[in-house]
Symmetry: D4
Subunit: 216 residues, 8 copies
């Protein structure tokens, strides 16, 4: 765990009681708590005991802020880019993660390759980001197109959205690994958290340098 | 075999002597002969015996015209679209096939998704085609992007160009099958012939209707 | 979206409320609305709010006609060919799609390769179609046989019907991609919509030429 | 080994000297010797030492008859059915195997599903066989069609002939395993020997019964 | 359908009402009806309307005999061989199928390769069968061992029983296709019906010859 | 292409003459040229014509510096981490790429997970890097272990080194995608170039911020 | 079954009544009974009839001790090593199995490769074990690291814990099979029982030798 | 490396000069050197420089004994079991490895499951071994059968021997992982070295206990 960052709990497969125990222990250390992969029912159970938790249904995340200022405000923002409604769960897991770590997030959510003009309407603003997290299911082509248009790192997140020859996200995963655009690296299928976490590390590098210099 | 079209021989796995025998039989019926998947050495052997054959090394095809006019000139053209040097063999197999069937072909060969502005420079001309054959290896995203920009049918041809998680073209194949753009159908990996053949059938429909009407 | 065609919504993974919002927006533009992948329960929810929608259970589609004439009647028909009861959902998704786009559809639904005489009883009528959509699960051999018997384009739709070494439609998909009949192109497993959409594009080309000429 | 049948050696991966040693030992017992998977060069080495061997290049088999009458002539014949030139190696491995075991073989070699009329020209004669061995590469649909037309057992042999999404015969293998025609069972990819061996066991059953009865 | 045999309906994916309609039509022709892949609930629905149907829960089959004698009694028996309790559903689908077609069936159900002495206790009786249907899940090795011990044809049926690297029967399927014992052919995973149907065709050949001769 | 960076050519599948033409065009613009995937023979052909090229056999890269200073020296270094001799080709492709872009590279080449003490001897120095490129074949576990020990981004590069159940790098690729350490993203199998390129983008971010600030 | 060991029943797919019958038969022979893969509901049914059974929910096992001393106490212990909460079911299946066979088990359950210092805190005690069973899901790297640190045999058990490119445990399985540490062998995905059984055989060898010698 | 054991070098992908350097360094420490995966040509190069090396062509191994007694003679033997000529390379890699580590090896090399009586002729002697390494290609069923007949640990080694649906050893690998016999663990495809190494660790445990006791 890095200084000033929330502690992250992977909620899948853990009982509400287990999650509450871990969360309380973290909270006792005056750290923020961020829990991923929590469905609505489990979240309700936990909030019952720990009402300080905020639940976000789309991203399936719980967040508990302990009130301490994590770090001075970061400059710049992280772009979260995806095609539309179907990948929203994963995109929001990424967005909420980045926000839980203190980054400003800008969402570009209706920019699939089959209607590429919508991407172009926003490309200037995407280009200004420190780093992009690009989420795509089905054929997974979006990171290649974005990667060719921006000059910052692109973290590609394949999703399991699709059917048939999609094979639960394998199609999008292979597409992204084979991208002919440079500057793209890939995380696991549906791993919105991981995509954002890698982006945050880069965002932090950009800011750390600045602040280190500033404090000189 | 349709009227006025060349007879096509699949050259792979056939001996020069077999190819010569079949070609002579076709030629005797005063038909054009078109042979695919012929390497340079095999082509030389055949041309030795049948110097009327023209060999094209990039597409690995042999063509023998018997001089008869196949059909009155077709209107419109077929667009062959691909990303660059590596898919050239397959793209040219498609282009030479379409030409052997009497279509005008326009080639758009340097328009990959990682440098999408080059596609945009040509998109107006691609849009005017009757049908597009879009060839792509590696991540295979090009047909999705083209399909979103044109309103005619797109025949997508995945190629085996790539390495690693490309798995001999599987990556591009899955991408194309999962395309979120409508109006895309797919043929086998590296099947430039098949891509062009489907395009020709559509090109013919457009022209047949016209000419039938014209002859009224 | 092409002129005079319905707007199509992919219903899977969308909430009834989302589908209603989108449908109302389209309807307000006086366009027809066609929704695929809607189960009976979701359809009932939507019809409750928008009783003008017609639901078809086999194809799992909703259709809402806005009363405007889409286009002058098309000549010719699209053949939808499949083997039997098990692929009916996908075949009807294709048929209803083609009809929603204004085409006449002829259904040939009991013509599997294991009883090939039934195919032959209908082959004359299939041959007269502009284009065929051939749907098959299990071994997926039907498009190859049809493709060898007709001289128009065949759009092949593999289905996930089968068990064991079918691997959720992979078997039928590979069969169709490897077809030794020419003039066959393939869409994703269970993608009846996509199969029909490609057919409609071709059907439109045949008709457009005619009508353009007619209006001269 | 069954009585009166040749001993069969799988030649792949064995040295000429090993094959010669085994062959001599069998010959010494006055048995016929049948060797599969022998390329031309290896065959020449062996014939050099044992000129009594007959080599067949297409099937890549060696046969050495010891002159003894194996059994009284069998009634009926085995049909070997395949699509064309590309599967010939496997089809002939099957045919030569069946002949080495003493069966009459009838070859039907140009009857692929993409040109199904050629199958129909021969179907009466195929139907009269005791059993059919049906060999197919690429999409592998032939056994399904044949199986639907005959009422004897069909042994299906997928071949590795094809490219791209054929995946070295996987496509044809899955097709055959998923056949919706009854009465089809499958052996390994390219296993012409195995296809014929199963056919011979059935052919023998038909004949044994007869002869047992006859000798009463 | 062969003379005197029941008509077989594949029950999966068909509604009770559909199954009843088809069954009544067959029964009206005075044929026996045999339905596979019917769960207990669906069977109860059908029996409610057609109480003449007998349901067998283990094999999930329905049988309706119309009282006519199918054929004179067959000589010999079919061996159904499997390892134990887990493959019972598939083994009984095979056994009930063979019985529905009029064959005597002998069951050898506790003879897995990990305790091979139990196979040896029964091997003499298995050897006397006309043909064996050998069913196995997990590693699927039983057909190889049986095939090495008997000299009649073995029809191998892989099952999806297992977990982990079993991949829903893929493991057993590959094992059987790669068997180094001769005289083994394979049907689809869990296809007990198909295994028995192939066995019946062979059993019929043995008997037909006899009876044809007898009637001379 | 980013300012001051070399132009990179993917050498695989391109003829020497093609590579020379492209290189000359780049050189004419006074840019550095960096070519990957060039075997020794092809390199010799090119050096024959353009002796200014330096060839490195392990990494299979060609470099041509045009003498201009790319940028002021960067602070910090990129760590290239791998297990040993077998992954050297890929590791050096990464190292030479990073150097061609002007970064200082530190190599940690004998630190596989099976002898983890060697990793610990160097971990302090690895931790000081801006970013790590971690290359591993066989089981591909190294990035997980490194990722758990450092707090900067890890770019993981699976290699195709291994045999059997390695499946040409699939094993290492899946391992890396499933890493339970945070802060790891993955590029294609054997893509040393891609791994380094992503690292360079991050390294540049760290330095750009600094220099931007410095120039204030 | 080895002397003094419990009889083990694989509970999956067996009815409570079947399990009770088998258990009673074993108990009648005065043997201990150990049942794996029993969910809580099924366990309750069985305990209802046979209250002597002890059920453990985490490992999903039932144990019934018949009171007889199995063997004199064994020296040494078996180490069960895994990363954390998610693999607990499989780890405890292994642990309870080893205990049912009479071994002392030491559990090391929070030692994943992403936080390798926790492994190092316990490595001395792990090294003293006779044999280790190392359980891991996701990337499955733990056995490689442990194998490099201990000099006794490591039995690696991949689990299906993970998501996306984990493919139900395939990722961990391949990792373990490709381990570059020597002295690791692998059992099926989620096969905690199998992992422990192999460990027990080795533990017994160590002890048997001792005791045999002692009794001299 | 354990005391008194040879140092093992994995020869694949290493240059003769590299192998010579490593070997000399080991030899200088007065350790035995054992090199695996060395083809005949590479071996000749090395022996040219270091004539003390003994090369074994079947196992493709080099051994250099430094004359020191490794350990007092071990009691018992390791059984190496396989089906026949095709798996010999892998079996001998295992056998030579075990011998290089000082164990007595007994070879049982003609005992495949398709002719199981040959296994039974030797089963008594196999049973007496401390541990068995069972090697099998094609269907890979041998370890299951052996595992059911012996009560010591079985290390199973799948080989890539086979064709078609063997998929380079995948078939045998899956068979072994799914074995229904207990006491079997598996190493990588063709990993004869690994199979033997695991066996040696067990053999050593049996002997160490004895000798430790003896020295008391
Ligand atoms: N959605 C997610 N997907 C993958 N990894 C996650 C996710 N959420 C959290 N994690 C990782 O899981 C770790 C916590 O795992 P655990 O100790 O099981 O709660 C965190 O530090 C993250 O690295
Ligand atoms: N490159 C190709 N790929 C796939 N199919 C082809 C190719 N070239 C020709 N064909 C098809 O193969 C048929 C001829 O096959 P054959 O009778 O073996 O020569 C032609 O009619 C085409 O349908
Ligand atoms: N059943 C279907 N399968 C695949 N694509 C579909 C299907 N139905 C609709 N679509 C496509 O999905 C688009 C609408 O997607 P959406 O914006 O998510 O509603 C339509 O324009 C169609 O191209
Ligand atoms: N044939 C083999 N297959 C797999 N691993 C081997 C083989 N031979 C040797 N090894 C392992 O490779 C290690 C040496 O690897 P290296 O340092 O690359 O020479 C040895 O200690 C063995 O653990
Ligand atoms: Mg970029
Ligand atoms: Mg379009
Ligand atoms: Mg056709
Ligand atoms: Mg039939
Ligand atoms: Mg046999
Ligand atoms: Mg880290
Ligand atoms: Mg070790
Ligand atoms: Mg055993």
């Amino acid at each position: 765990k890095r200084q000033g960052f929330p502690e992250v709990i992977y909620g899948e497969g853990k009982e509400p009681s287990q999650l509450i125990d871990i969360s309380r222990a973290i909270n006792a250390k005056q750290e923020n708590v961020f829990v991923t992969r929590v469905d609505a029912e489990k979240a309700a159970d936990i909030q019952n005991q720990m009402p300080a938790f905020t639940y976000d249904q789309t991203s399936r995340t719980l967040f508990l802020a302990n009130g301490k200022e994590r770090h001075q405000a970061w400059r710049g923002y992280v772009a979260i880019v995806c095609a539309g409604t179907s990948d929203l769960h994963v995109a929001e897991e990424a967005a909420k993660t980045a926000e839980a770590f203190g980054a400003e997030v800008r969402r570009f959510y209706d920019v699939g390759v089959a209607g590429i003009h919508r991407l172009f309407e926003h490309i200037h603003e995407i280009r200004q980001a420190t780093v992009s997290v690009v989420i795509a299911g089905m054929e997974g082509a979006l990171p290649s197109v974005v990667g060719g248009l921006v000059s910052h790192p692109v973290i590609a997140v394949p999703t399991s959205v699709g059917y048939g020859a999609n094979f639960q996200g394998l199609s999008a995963l292979l597409t992204m690994l084979n991208s002919c655009a440079s500057g793209i690296s890939v995380v696991n299928i549906d791993n919105g958290f991981g995509g954002a976490y890698n982006a945050i590390m880069i965002h932090q590098i950009a800011n750390r340098s600045l602040s280190e210099v500033n404090t000189d």
